[in-house]
């Protein structure tokens, strides 16, 4: 079964639309230095490194060796993993597997991106099939608008429902000093008033009908680093380590046109497998906080249903009832989530790090006001594939 493994340290840079003061190697370094300080370790304590980004955005194809001075990988085993949008969570999984193998005690996971360095939509298109998809693909915004069109048609969901997700994420982001978007003007306004403003304001430009600017994630420059430790050392490093309880990932189709748009089948299958392994029968009751890779607003409705938090078509009710707000039964994205910060290769890893600090009690102004025994992190990418990681306070049996 392998060794039990926990997160013992987390560092991240503040998301920004452009960080011209640092190159890629230097922004990686900022996150690593922060994670080492958080765990009170030095680079000499690190036994192996897993690093990832989505190469298309910077056009640099050998990041593992190119970044070795910033990552701390000089004369160490270092492995590059890249899986598109899920890169950050897949990097976390690989670091976990390294530590679980018993061959490395302390493994550093790094995810980063400088989305300012290219046209994000153009670069995303080059990740798809060159013959059958690239000629007419419209990147992530178009792809997600397609999904929204089906979900809205199936369940009579409205633009107000989507806007309510955006409002939650942006209000939560105000508590997170590392979030890229801090929409201070939202402070003190009622939720209904904000929703109304988002769906009626002409300034809130339609990008791809039915999606407006406020429905989408930003494009950010940023980096994150998470330190995984085996059971032999984890409790010596962190007073409350965040244990890896279960993880699963699923890929289904290769071409986007093959995807079943009625349901997010990969997210449903991966989460079901993870919950079964953890013995979780009622996810809404048993999971205490979520850091979900929700790249756009309607994912905060439909994918909640696929994760088993409510029935099909019940996502809007769960949301409007306030269940997923900071003081709700299941706070979702206390960090403000992907819709408030999206340095793509770092994004999934930030979900894992944010889930971990909720368990460790180190989330500061964004710490949820309740006991956290289970925290769920997810990743989403490309052709609707899914990564799921469940973290827990109790050391697994």
């Amino acid at each position: 079964m392998g060794k039990r493994v926990a997160v013992v340290g987390f560092g991240q840079t503040k998301g920004r639309s452009s960080r011209k003061d640092v190159n890629g190697v230097e922004i990686i370094n900022e996150a690593v230095v922060a994670a080492l300080a958080d765990a009170e370790l030095t680079i000499d304590d690190i036994d192996a490194i897993v690093i990832g980004n989505m190469d298309h955005f910077e056009g640099i194809n050998y990041v593992d060796s190119w970044s070795v001075e910033g990552s701390g990988g000089v004369m160490k085993p270092i492995f590059k993993v890249t899986t598109g949008g899920t890169t950050g969570t897949t990097v976390a999984m690989c670091a976990y597997y390294h530590a679980a193998s018993g061959m490395f005690d302390r493994v550093l996971a790094i995810g980063w991106e400088k989305n300012s360095e290219s046209d994000t939509t153009g670069a995303i298109i080059t990740a798809f099939d060159p013959v059958w998809e690239r000629p007419n693909l419209g990147g992530a915004i178009a792809g997600l608008a397609l999904e929204a069109s089906k979900y809205m048609d199936n369940y009579e969901v409205t633009e107000r429902d989507g806007a309510r997700v955006a409002v939650r994420e942006r209000l939560h982001a105000l508590n997170n000093p590392y979030a890229h978007l801090h929409q201070e003007w939202m402070k003190g306004m009622e939720v209904d008033q904000l929703v109304e403003l988002l769906v009626t304001s002409e300034q809130n430009q339609v990008l791809a009908y039915p999606l407006r600017m406020s429905d989408m994630c930003p494009r950010s420059d940023g980096a994150a680093a998470v330190i995984f430790a085996s059971e032999d050392v984890a409790e010596k490093i962190a007073p409350i380590p965040a244990w890896m309880v279960a993880t699963a990932n699923r890929h289904n189709f290769a071409l986007a046109g093959d995807v079943d748009m009625d349901r997010n089948t990969t997210m449903a299958s991966a989460s079901k497998a993870a919950f079964e392994k953890a013995g979780i029968k009622e996810p809404l009751k048993e999971i205490d906080v979520c850091e979900l890779y929700l790249p756009y607003s309607y994912a905060g409705l439909k994918w909640m249903e696929d994760l088993g938090f409510c029935g099909y078509g019940e996502g809007p009710k769960l949301l409007w009832d306030g269940v997923t707000d900071m003081d709700g039964e299941l706070p979702v994205n206390p960090s403000g989530g992907v819709m408030s910060s999206n340095a793509i290769g770092a994004t999934g890893l930030i979900r894992v790090g944010e889930a971990a600090i909720q368990i460790m009690g180190k989330a500061g102004t964004r710490q949820v006001p309740k006991d956290v025994n289970f925290a769920l992190a997810t990743g989403f990418g490309g052709c609707y594939w899914a990564d799921v990681m469940l973290l827990g306070k109790k050391k697994p049996a």
């Binding site: 939509t121 153009g122 013959v131 915004i141 069109s149 048609d153 093959d258």
Partner: protein, 161 residues
């Protein structure tokens, strides 16, 4: 004055542009892709491949049904008419990496379930009217006059009343 003083201390932060880089590729499309493109170019006909196990018809055709993990060897004709499965009206501008130019907006974009196929072809639709261009709308392929053996030999799809 303050700005000037700042500039003395801090130099402007620079970026270096990649320039007009262009790296051509020649992608193999295999036996299945070649059949599809030949029929499209020469006869304005569309073909899929049928899985011997689950019976699903895949378009564009390919060798392996990933769900069953078995080889396909049957080509089946697929209609040039079908239904909009999911759709979007794209209004934001971006650089098309195929051409290096801004893609003209707005335009309709959809996954189209052609009659006789179980998967969708992704393509442009010649409508930006959300009242008419929506999930379930009927569409028909419009072919280019001069065809080159590419997916874009279908110019776009048009709404059928």
């Amino acid at each position: 004055m303050e700005n000037n003083a700042q500039k003395k201390d801090e130099q402007e932060l620079l970026t270096v542009s990649s320039g007009e880089m262009f790296q051509p590729y020649d992608w193999s499309v295999g036996k299945f892709g070649s059949k599809f493109l030949h029929e499209l170019k020469e006869n304005k006909k569309l073909f899929g491949s049928k899985c011997p196990k689950c019976g699903r018809v895949f378009i564009p055709p390919r060798k392996v049904c990933g769900q069953c993990y078995v080889a396909m060897d049957e080509f089946v004709p697929v209609s040039d008419e079908g239904e909009v499965y999911v759709c979007a009206i794209i209004q934001f501008g971006f650089v098309d990496p195929e051409t290096g130019k801004q893609r003209p907006v707005p335009y309709g974009y959809a996954f189209i379930k052609l009659d006789g196929a179980d998967t969708c072809l992704t393509h442009f639709v010649d409508s930006v009217d959300p009242e008419k261009f929506k999930v379930g709308a009927r569409v028909r392929a419009v072919f280019e006059e001069k065809r080159k053996g590419s997916l874009m030999d279908i110019k776009h799809f048009e709404l059928v009343d």
